[in-house]
Subunit: 143 residues, 2 copies
Amino acid sequence: MNKKVKIRKTLANAGLKATVQRLVILETLTDNFSHPTAESIFKKIKKDYPSISLSTVYNTLEVFRKHGIVRIVNTDSVTVRYDSVTDTHHHIFFEGNNKIEDYYNPELDKLLQKFFLKNKIPNIEINELQVQIKGKHIRIQAN
Amino acid sequence: MNKKVKIRKTLANAGLKATVQRLVILETLTDNFSHPTAESIFKKIKKDYPSISLSTVYNTLEVFRKHGIVRIVNTDSVTVRYDSVTDTHHHIFFEGNNKIEDYYNPELDKLLQKFFLKNKIPNIEINELQVQIKGKHIRIQAN
DNA sequence: ACCGAGTTAATAATCGTTCTAAATTAGAAA
DNA sequence: TTTCTAATTTAGAACGATTATTAACTCGGT
């Protein structure tokens, strides 16, 4: 299925009108794996579509979040970053260059689920387990 | 060892002057397991020590963070929350009431370390693995 | 093509955090 | 104990990110 059609379908499934702004914001987000900020999404879009407003980007991202179309990535900076992938996955935080990457590993998910099934925490019904992997970006040695 | 003495020692070890403000901020933080915000630390202290400034709280927390005395807890809200426990541990995020609790489990740490030793991620030298446990607070059934 | 609810744009307001510069203070040295 | 100085604190301004407001616009159903 074509990308644009997919995006339209996502909006329709959520019961959201397919406005130009929503289409372009969601497309920007799905094309970018860098977990952009609202501001950087705005700037990227502004080039091809100068009439877009920053508040529309904020509003739209919040609407998307409420509908589970995007999620917020937890960083230790003040600004919020977005991710259009909402299924179970983890995040790699590269020290220094401020990059964030997705990390998928169903085996890890299973391992964690199993662990918390055995080691029940009282008073909580877990619905998400997410690992934050933090470290330094290194170059692989050629030898 | 007495609590106040311990706090003085922590500051001395970091090479930081033991000012009243630092002592009281660090004490507030170590007494509170609720991962407070800068603002809420400020308010708590203000009662007994009305001359404290909000910027001092911000400054001091940043100094502490740089010296590894406190760490920032990643939430998906805009405001930053602090934790005076800096050794390896995980966080439980309770949905709804906005509470955050520490979760210790050396077995989990070992499990994760072992996992990532087997499943190496290219280009990264991992120095922290932290699990975010998210879920609903529930009441245990009495039967 | 028209209508109405939903959406957007522009901008003001707010919130949390950082910066600035002058006043104060801890702690080393005399 | 007093003096000195660099470190620290204070108050408030400035800043940057986000949210709220409201009038104008538009999508999609008729």
